[in-house]
């Protein structure tokens, strides 16, 4: 499943981030491959917000379409 298909409140694990630069930045922000997160917000056709404890990251919709995740 791609990240843009998650629903609000769903628990997911990041499986694959194809872009190498995004991947490195994502690891630093704590949303790298293997990270388990909650989708805390999903804006209509807009960014998806992932949460890990107190940490929140907003991800643009097009980028979300490229990120492979699985429900946990």
């Amino acid at each position: 499943m791609k990240l843009d298909k998650v629903t609000r409140g769903q628990q997911i694990e990041i499986v694959k981030i194809p872009d190498v630069n995004i991947r490195a930045q994502a690891i630093r922000l704590g949303i790298g491959e293997g990270a388990k997160l909650t989708c805390s917000e999903k804006l209509p056709a807009g960014p998806i917000i992932l949460q890990n404890r107190m940490q929140e990251i907003a991800i643009g919709r097009r980028l979300a379409e490229s990120i492979e995740v699985k429900a946990v």
Binding site: R28, L29, A35, S40, P47, M54, Q55, A58, G60, R62
Partner: protein, 619 residues
Amino acid sequence: MSCHNPASTIEVAEGSKKIVLVGNPNVGKSVFFNALTGVYVDVSNFPGTTVDISHGKYKEDLILDTPGVYGVSSFNDEERVARDVILYGDIILNVVDALHLERDLFLTQQIIDMGKPVIVALNMMDDVERNGRKINIDMLSQKLGVTVIPTVAVKGKGIDEVKKALNNAKKGNRLSIVEENIHKVINSVDEESEALLVLEEDENIQKRHDAKFNETLRETIYSSRRKYIDEIVTEVVTEDMQKASFKTKLGRWMVQPITGIPILLFVLYIMYQAVGVFVAQTVVGITEEVIMGTYYYDFIVNLLGKFVTEENFIGQLVIGEFGLFTMTPVYLLGLLLPLVAGFYFFLSLMEDSGYLPRIATLVDKMLTYLGLNGRAVIPMILGFGCVTMATITTRLLGSKRERFIATMLLGLAIPCSAQLGVIVGLIAPLGAKYLMIYVVTIFTVFVLTGTLLNKVMPGKSTDLLIDLPPLRIPQLSNVLRKTYSKSLAFMKEAAPLFALGAAIITIMQFTGVLDSVISVFAPITEGFLKLDPRVAQAFVMGIIRRDFGAAGLDSLASAGIITGAQVVVALVAITLFVPCIAAIIVVFKERSWQESVIIWVGSFIMAFLTAGILAQIII
């Protein structure tokens, strides 16, 4: 040796140590900086960036501040500057947001992996308690292998302990993967810290030392660091997630369109009242007209009038209508400075409170249609202050494509505050209908241009990937400090441009070029735009200063020479029309000349075309 390093431009006395403050954005670094250095602070701009480094003295040592970053590498200007300062620091004071350990400790561990002596200030401990978290500080300190001191910097708690600990900073526990590999590259670099970045495939550092490392370790190191940090956090933090605070809820409301858009409109309205009305009218009325326009002007004209006469070219250049010592400083200090400071004040407030990344998230969807992402909201907001200032900040956008689109939109469709004041004054008496026509026209041009550029321009824009920090009440002292240093940096950068612009205009006027430009525009203005030919003069004046153009219209309108509909057409033309000469110069400076010509000529054509079409409809 630090001969390769731009950070070495800051002088260090012999025998004194370089203590570098490092942390993620908005963790309270500057509070520590102020506590350590007191009032004597220098700000240095890094060549080729908008990034400033503050530095000052603590006892015998030099304290350097760095921009907030999430890690040390070369993803953007801030990181490159922070990287260079950190690499050659002697002691690192790492400020960590205690509420955000999983994010912040990545940077901490990276600095430890560099082999730098580190002190960790675990800041904002009061937030930790408020959110029902507990942190085992002894265990954290033991895991990292460095001293960890709990602090609440804004209340002065823990600062003395940090000061005392600075001299006992020690190297922490490196990741095993770093330990295993670092000796392979250590001989190709000058500093141990650089070796880590070579392992992490940092192109700049590899190039600097011609140090190639054939394994691709960046991701392996990043992943194991992430894993290691997550493990530490799980062990040292115990939490009670039941306490979802009001701030968390407010944070949600800010990004959900239904609540977020009204909140944004409300904030922009406050900003308009404060900057657009209070600063642009009341404050500027005093600074531009009284202080600079009268006292300063009389003083300088009397003084320099003894040496030059306004009759000849030199006199015109120095104290003429657009003189280097008359219009330039009056405009820069009287008008621009208060407006720019006002805008930076609000921007800093939004940044420090954590609101700015939430606005970026809220508007991301709309901006992606224009080939931009949510981050572009920063130059767009600043554009309403000063297009020149906003064009400089397009540097923070992720790709050349985005920088071009943003620059074009700024130059074309965003009226700066200098102009906005006069526009509002002209349009308000005409009633709601004309106001709507004006707003809808400009907005349509803005959206159409962005959409079109996004369609035709090659390449791909970058996507939003942004950290949403917890909402906090900003520290006024910090906001003021940021406002000061950003305004100062802008004035330093913009002053020569405005001076150059003024000189060009004086030359054009003295040689008669200005008049011939006006006479070229006059027929188009009269025929296509259905306006009085005298309006052409206002258009050309708008190049010199955008508010001059609008002000020129004001006198024509009040003399009854142009009607309400004509005022709207002229205002549309003058808004879309090329930005002021300083903004044009800055566009040429920031973009390639081909791009700049496209922007310049493009906005020209767009302005007359749009105004012409509008004229056919409403006049």
